[in-house]
Amino acid sequence: MSVSIVHTLRVLRPAAMIALVALTGLVVGFYVNATFFPGTSPEQPINFSHRIHAGENQIPCMYCHVQARRSISAGVPSVNKCMGCHAEVATDSPQIRLLASYFETKEPIPWIKVHDLPDFVHFTHKRHVQADIECQTCHGPVETMDVVSREAPVKMGLCLDCHRKNEVEHGTDCWTCHK
C-alpha cells in the first residue's frame, strides 16, 4: 500500500495525458493566432507604404500628420493632402489611381486603425510630441514598414514605464489618462 499513490497516478495517466495534450493545444492555438494572425497589421484600402514615404523619401511624420503637435489626435491626411503631391508624383501607379478615384468621387478613405486605444484612455499626441518623444517610441519603426503593424504593445504598462522613467509630473496619476 505504500506505493498506492504512484499506482493510482498510473491508473489515472491516460486521462491526465489527454488533459495535458488539450492544455498544450490551447496554449499553442492561442499563440499561433496571436503570432501569425495578430490583427495588428490589417490590410488597408490603399497599400500606402510608410517605408517609401517616411523611409526612402524622408518625409517628416508631421508633414502629413499635421495635427500631432497641436491636437490630441495626430490626424490622418485628407485625400486632398495626398493629391497635393500625387497630382504630380507617380500618377501611373495603380494605387495612386485608386487614390485619385477617391479624390474624384470625394469619398473618404476608410483607413483601418492600427494603434487603437480603448475608449477609456485619453491620450494626447500634443503633449508627447511637444515633449520631443519620438513617434517611434510608441509606433515602432514605421519608416521601415510597408504595411504598418503594431510593434510596441501600447498598453498601460508601456505608458507607466515611460512616465516613471522620465519622471513625468504626476505622470502616474490615473486621471492623467483615464477620465
Binding site: M1, S4, I5, H7, L12, G157
Partner: protein
C-alpha cells in the same frame, strides 16, 4: 433511547460510515437532483442573467447600494462561524461530545465560506475583474488598497478558507485511509489520493495529533478576527447605525449564534437521513441547546445596547435610524427578528425542549431566519436612512435577488450532499475513541 450511543459496536463504526459513502439510496439522488436543479435555476440562471444585464437585475437603488447579496454574504460568513471555531474550542477543551458532530460542522464552515465568496461575486458590479482585489505584482505597479476594510476582508476570508480547509482535511486523513481500505474501483483510487498514503503508524498519529491541536489554536483567533473584520466593512464607515464600536463583538456573537443554530439543523438532518442515530444523540442537542441559550442572551444584550446608545446619542441621525428601525418600513422584519432570535430561544431554558429533536430543529431554523433578517436589516435600514433625508429611499429586493438567495441555500445543500458522499461525515477514529475498546466479540458497553 438513553443508551443509543452505546448500541453501536466498535466494528460497526467503519461499516456504518463506509456504508453512508458507498450505499446510495434513491432518496439521496432525488434530494441531490432537486438541490442541483434549484441551484441551477435559482442561482446560476439568475446570476448569468444579472451578469449579462448588470446589477440592475437586483432591486438595489441609489442610497441603498448594498442589498440582500451583501446580507447573504454576512449570513454565510456567520454560518461558517460555528463549525470550525466550535470544533476547535471543543477539541482544545477535550469535549467528548464534539466528536460525532465536528466533521459535518467543519464542512458547514467550508461550504458556507464558499457560498459566501460566491455571494461576493454575485454582489460586485464587475466580478470578472475580482482578481484586482488580490495583491499581485504587475507592470503597472498597481496594488489593491491596503487601507480598505474590504481588502482586510479579502485577506481574512481567504486565510480562514485556507485554514479551515486544511483543518477539515487533516482531521479526515485517517478516515480516508480507513475508507480506502474498504472500497474498490474509482473510489479506492480517490481515497488513495486523498489519504496521502496514511498508514497509521505511531509517528503519523503523533504528528497528526500535534498539528491538529496546533491548527485548532490558530483557528480560534482567526475565526474571531474574520467576523470582526466583516463587521468593519460597516463599522469603519460613517453611516449612522453602522458606525458603531460594538459591531465587531456583535457580529462575532451573531455569527457563532447563527452557526450553532445551523449545526443543530445539519445534525438533525444527518441523524435522521444518514442513519447516525447512534452517534448523534440527545446529549449533543442538549449541549448545543445550552450554548444557543447563552449566545441568544449575549446577542439580545448587545442589541439592547445598540438601541440604548442610539436613543442616548440624541443626534438626529442616530435617533431617526432608531425610530425607523422600530417603526419604519422594515419594522415588521425587526420584530420578527426579535421574536426569533431573542424571545423564542428562551424556551431553551427547559431541558425537555433541548432534548427534543423536532422542536430544536424548528427553533434552529427560526434562529437562522431571524439572523438572516438581522443581516438584511443592518444593510437595508441603515442605508436607506442616511445623513441627507432628501435622498432617503426604501429598498425592496427584486425577484432575482430572492431567487439567488434561495439558490444560494440550494447551492449549499448541493455541496453538502456531495460532501457526505465523499467525506466520512462523522469522524471514524474519534468516534471510536469515545466508545472505549470492546472487551470481547459481540459485547458492547452498557450505560
Amino acid at each position: 433511547m438513553q443508551t443509543e450511543v452505546r448500541q453501536a459496536r466498535f466494528a460497526d463504526v467503519n461499516d456504518d460510515v463506509v456504508r453512508s459513502l458507498v450505499v446510495t439510496g434513491r432518496n439521496y439522488y432525488i434530494a441531490l437532483g432537486i438541490a442541483g436543479f434549484v441551484t441551477l435555476t435559482c442561482f446560476f440562471f439568475p446570476w448569468f442573467y444579472q451578469l449579462y444585464y448588470g446589477i440592475g437585475a437586483a432591486g438595489m437603488n441609489s442610497p441603498t447600494v448594498w442589498g440582500t447579496y451583501l446580507a447573504s454574504f454576512i449570513f454565510w460568513i456567520g454560518l461558517s462561524h460555528s463549525g470550525t471555531l466550535l470544533s476547535c474550542v471543543l477539541h482544545l477543551t477535550n469535549s467528548e461530545w464534539r466528536k460525532a458532530m465536528y466533521r459535518s460542522a467543519e464542512a458547514m464552515t467550508f461550504f458556507s465560506l464558499f457560498v459566501a465568496i460566491t455571494m461576493v461575486m454575485v454582489h460586485i458590479g464587475r466580478p470578472w475583474f475580482i482578481h484586482w482585489a488580490a495583491p499581485y505584482p504587475n507592470q503597472m505597479g498597481l496594488w489593491p488598497n491596503f487601507r480598505s476594510p474590504l481588502m482586510f476582508d479579502v485577506m481574512a476570508i481567504m486565510t480562514y478558507l485556507t485554514g479551515s480547509g486544511i483543518f477539515i482535511y487533516m482531521g479526515a486523513i485517517p478516515d480516508f485511509a480507513a475508507v480506502r481500505d474498504r472500497t474498490t474501483g474509482w473510489r479506492h483510487h480517490l481515497y488513495v489520493l486523498l489519504s496521502l498514503g496514511w498508514r497509521g503508524t505511531d509517528k503519523e498519529w503523533h504528528r497528526l495529533g500535534w498539528a491538529y491541536t496546533f491548527l485548532a489554536v490558530l483557528i480560534i483567533p482567526l475565526a474571531v478576527s474574520v467576523h470582526s473584520i466583516v463587521s468593519w466593512d460597516f463599522a469603519l464607515s460613517i453611516v449612522p447605525g453602522l458606525h458603531q464600536t460594538i459591531f465587531a463583538p456583535y457580529f462575532v456573537v451573531g455569527a457563532i449564534y447563527s452557526g450553532t443554530a445551523g449545526i443543530v439543523t445539519v445534525m438533525f438532518v444527518l441523524r435522521k437521513y444518514m442513519n447516525f442515530e447512534h452517534y448523534i444523540t440527545k446529549l449533543h442537542f442538549d449541549n448545543l441547546g445550552k450554548l444557543l441559550l447563552l449566545l441568544s442572551l449575549l446577542w439580545t444584550y448587545i442589541n439592547m445596547l445598540e438601541l440604548f446608545t442610539g436613543w442616548f446619542s440624541g443626534t438626529s441621525t442616530e435617533y431617526e435610524q432608531l425610530k425607523y428601525k422600530l417603526t419604519g418600513f422594515y419594522a415588521p422584519l425587526y420584530w420578527e427578528m426579535i421574536l426569533f432570535c431573542a424571545v423564542a430561544p428562551l424556551l431553551l431554558i427547559s431541558r425537555k425542549f433541548r432534548t427534543s429533536f423536532v422542536p430544536m430543529l424548528i427553533l434552529s431554523i427560526a434562529i437562522n431566519i431571524g439572523m438572516y433578517t438581522e443581516r438584511f436589516l443592518i444593510v437595508a435600514t441603515t442605508l436607506s436612512r442616511q445623513y441627507l433625508p432628501g435622498s432617503w429611499r426604501v429598498y425592496v429586493p427584486s425577484l432575482v435577488e430572492i431567487s439567488i438567495l434561495v439558490g444560494s441555500l440550494a447551492l449549499f445543500v448541493t455541496l453538502f450532499l456531495l460532501f457526505v458522499k465523499i467525506f466520512p461525515s462523522i469522524s471514524i477514529y474519534e468516534i471510536k475513541e469515545t466508545m472505549g475498546v470492546p472487551k470481547k466479540h459481540g459485547e458492547h458497553h452498557d450505560t
